[in-house]
């Protein structure tokens, strides 16, 4: 018994300790209320096409998807305005070539299709990153490239929303923009998630009823066995 207690105690202490070690590298992420309602997704899409798409692509999303996914539900006219002369079934690719990106930023900006799933914290990571630009207290990293949420704190992407030194009056607006982008990318990372949850509710109800019937059946069949 003593051994079991000891291993449990060690187990709990160590889970706490590993949490502390991770915290040293980057700041703990800000909490954000990700919402996949149409208004937020449309706003996020707007910020994405205006700002993010200057450098980043969505290789798994086509312009047509913006109409087909009912969660975003853009109409044909709005899609035509966004896509310009790109074909309707073309993927949402940035105009910045890899060679130009390497010259300007020293790296190729990552595709953002699954970014909201590929980082610990998911949507909260994107929100925190967009609102995480600060002045380097040690003064070594240039303003606009110092981000407290990025591993190593030096990020090639320079403050896309203009968070650094923003006016207090703009804070609410900037936070909302960051939240909308985080929500939009959360949707894009797994575009069937709302459909999945809707179907899931019916599956659960069906299975619970079915299992209840099985329970009744089991009780009836076993009624003549002493056990």
């Amino acid at each position: 018994m003593k051994r079991i207690v000891m291993s449990f105690v060690l187990f709990i202490c160590l889970s706490g300790a590993t949490g502390l070690i991770q915290a040293e590298e980057t700041a703990p992420l800000k909490a954000v209320d990700i919402s996949l309602d149409q208004a937020t997704l449309k706003q996020g899409l707007g910020v994405f096409t205006d700002v993010c798409m200057g450098c980043h692509s969505l290789r798994y999303m086509t312009w047509k998807d913006l109409m087909d996914y009912k969660e975003i539900g853009l109409n044909r006219k709005a899609v035509d305005e966004l896509r310009g002369d790109a074909p309707l079934n073309a993927h949402m690719m940035t105009g910045l070539s890899e060679a130009d990106a390497k010259e300007s930023y020293g790296t190729v900006p990552p595709d953002l299709s699954v970014m909201a799933r590929a980082r610990e914290g998911k949507g909260a990571y994107i929100y925190s990153l967009l609102t995480g630009f600060e002045h380097d207290p040690k003064g070594r990293i240039m303003d606009g490239n110092y981000n407290i949420y990025f591993p190593g704190h030096r990020i090639a992407m320079s403050d896309p929303l203009g968070w650094l030194d923003h006016d207090a009056a703009d804070e609410k607006d900037l936070k909302q923009q960051a939240r909308a982008v985080a929500s939009f990318l959360t949707f894009v990372g797994d575009p069937h998630q709302l459909e999945r949850q809707t179907i899931g509710k019916w599956v659960m109800i069906f299975l619970i009823v079915l299992t209840f019937v099985f329970w009744l059946l089991k009780r009836a069949v076993w009624s003549d066995v002493e056990h």
Partner: protein
């Protein structure tokens, strides 16, 4: 209705030529079962359901999956793209893929509970030794299958997990390097590796099905053990159908509720089912800070990691499996069930805690404290098997019941 079908002239015609009806009667209807089996005994049937789910979902995934590392721009590959295409563009592809991914984790969860039940009630003892050995073989085939399958999405954890595990072959003395290249099909994990892993991910489940069928057939020769571990008298035997068909159905129903909860509401299992880093495409130039296998492989991985020498670590891990195979002969007590064996019961609980601790340690980045805990847990793991041959000499077992 089932009786009607089996008695029909068509069924009789078939039975005269293939014994089909006799097989069904023997394995699914008349099979004599003790009446006191609890719900822990449902995990065998549940595992069979999971196996069928995995095979079917896997078949449909394979129709749209492309096993090629061909670059498609910005670090992505054809394999990674095809998985995302299944998730987005294939009709209900997301459902099939999540069923398969959640199913893999579930399979291990169910099998570990199934094995724990076997350990607790002494179901590995005479005359069921070979049943237990086949069970361990099934576990090994499953672990190989899941390892091959995890490479297929060609994400960061796929690539680096396969790199770490195939490195095991490189530790073999003298022929290590040659063997490593043979397994990978090149100097590093790459397109040839992906191709052969895809084929092997098809082959090993076929093998699995064969051994599972054999396992079930062997069970029906030696018959089920029961929670008391004593032989069942005639009057306490009931036929499998309808008693255990309906009882297992109830177990399967409860299982499906939990399974569907994960498929529909938490398909990545907070990183335990699909790891966060596996949504990044494989990048051979960028090693992740922390490479750990999925949770169901970590206890054995931690034993490997606990030994400072690479080759000895592999020997240690192999020995951990050998111990499982030898279990029926290591335990010499005439009493089966842990209900009547206080010392064995205590040892078993410590053993389960040790495996849980090993799994936890193997799933987290190496720290000096975790390494120490992992080593202590490894010692407890092996201590269980080393003590077993001697326990019956001093253990005072509780009086056994006459009948179940």
């Amino acid at each position: 209705m089932i009786k009607k079908i089996l008695d029909s002239s068509a069924a009789q015609w078939l039975d005269d030529r293939t014994h089909a009806v006799q097989y069904i009667r023997f394995h699914l209807i008349d099979y004599p079962t003790p009446k006191n089996l609890n719900y822990m005994y449902a995990f065998g049937s549940i595992a069979l359901v999971v196996l069928i789910l995995q095979v079917l979902s896997g078949l449909f995934l394979a129709m749209d999956y492309k096993a090629a590392t061909l670059p498609t721009g910005n670090g992505f590959s054809l394999a990674f793209d095809s998985v995302e295409r299944i998730m987005r563009d294939v009709n209900y592809g997301w459902l099939i893929r999540y069923m398969h991914a959640v199913g893999a984790t579930t399979f291990f969860f169910v099998i570990y509970l199934h094995m724990a039940r076997g350990l607790y009630y002494g179901s590995y003892k005479k005359p069921r030794e070979f049943l237990w050995i086949m069970g361990v073989m099934i576990l090994l085939i499953m672990q190989a299958t899941v390892f091959f399958g995890y490479l297929l999405p060609w994400g960061q954890m796929s690539f680096w997990g396969a790199t770490v595990i195939t490195n095991i072959f490189g530790a073999v003395p003298v022929i290590g390097d040659w063997l490593l290249q043979l397994v990978r099909g090149g100097f590093s994990v790459g397109d040839p590796t992906l191709g052969r892993f895809f084929v092997l991910h098809f082959l090993t489940p076929l093998l699995l099905i064969v051994v599972v069928l054999w396992h079930v057939m062997a069970l029906h020769v030696v018959h089920s053990n029961n929670p008391t571990g004593v032989e069942t008298s005639k009057k306490n035997i009931i036929p499998f159908h309808p008693y255990y068909t309906v009882k297992d159905l109830l177990g399967i129903g409860v299982f499906l509720i939990i399974y569907s909860y994960f498929v529909f509401f938490n398909p990545t299992g907070n990183g335990l089912i699909i790891e966060v880093n596996n949504f990044n495409p494989a990048n051979p130039m960028h090693t992740p800070g922390d490479i750990s296998p999925v949770w169901y492989l970590t206890p054995w991985y931690e034993i490997l990691r606990s030994v400072p020498n690479k080759l000895l670590g592999i020997v240690g891990m192999g020995f951990a499996y050998v111990c499982l195979f030898l279990l029926p002969w290591l335990d010499r007590s005439p009493v089966r069930s842990a209900r009547y064996r206080p010392v064995y019961r205590m040892m078993l609980i410590v053993f389960f805690v040790a495996i849980g601790t090993l799994g936890y340690c193997g799933h987290h980045p190496v720290t000096p404290e975790l390494t120490l805990v992992g080593r202590i847990a490894s010692v407890f793991y092996f201590a269980f098997f080393f003590l077993l041959p001697f326990v019956h000499k001093f253990e005072k077992t509780k009086p056994l019941p006459e009948d179940v």
